[in-house]
């Protein structure tokens, strides 16, 4: 089975080693397997999960929600709850996109106004 050292996991996931440890402490990652000497070895599954975590963080999901989602993922019987959580999040993402686009339009109006002033 392919595994990854902390440095490799950081490289692949795009999170720093410190952040990976932080996420594990926070319960966002389930406990990572260790070598006999205590060094972490990340599996491909771990990296897959980290990929989703990256998606959720990039879209502004707070750490606390991510933790809740991670906890739900430990229990097979929570599929519906997980989907609900993701759909709520999707709605919030849509709202921020909408806000961003609306405000961007205002920003561009301002720029056009400057242009009209002979800039």
């Amino acid at each position: 089975m392919i595994t990854y050292s902390p440095a490799q996991a950081a490289e692949v996931s795009g999170f720093s080693i410190d952040t990976l440890r932080y996420y594990e402490r926070e319960g966002i990652l389930r406990p990572i397997a260790r070598t006999s000497g205590g060094h972490r070895t990340y599996t491909e599954d771990d990296l897959g999960w980290l990929d989703l975590v990256h998606c959720l963080r990039d879209t502004g999901m707070p750490i606390a929600d991510l933790k809740r989602y991670a906890e739900l993922s430990l229990d097979e019987a929570t599929l519906a709850a997980r989907v609900a959580l993701l759909e709520d999040h999707d709605r919030r993402v849509q709202e921020s996109i909408d806000t961003l686009r609306g405000q961007q339009e205002r920003l561009r109006e301002k720029i056009r106004w400057y242009r009209g002033q002979g800039v």
Copy 2:
């Protein structure tokens, strides 16, 4: 001339009174006029500026950049620099919208995947 008390300015602008004071301290607002007793009286111009500040904050402009933009605005000869700043910001806003949309698509794929699992 119409003026606004701190509470009214907060109400209209959507910023808290504390935030208004903070922005003034930081130089994001030019010094607000005062009554003889030292109470602030916001003008319509102040509120117009706050409206732009809100737009820029909503689109993620950091306080430091906002401050720089405010400083430029004190000098009439900086129109070009101000436009450049806004256009840089517009590009960053566009990037975040793009990232958000891309990640939202991944999120929705994940939701569809759950749906395929019979949720």
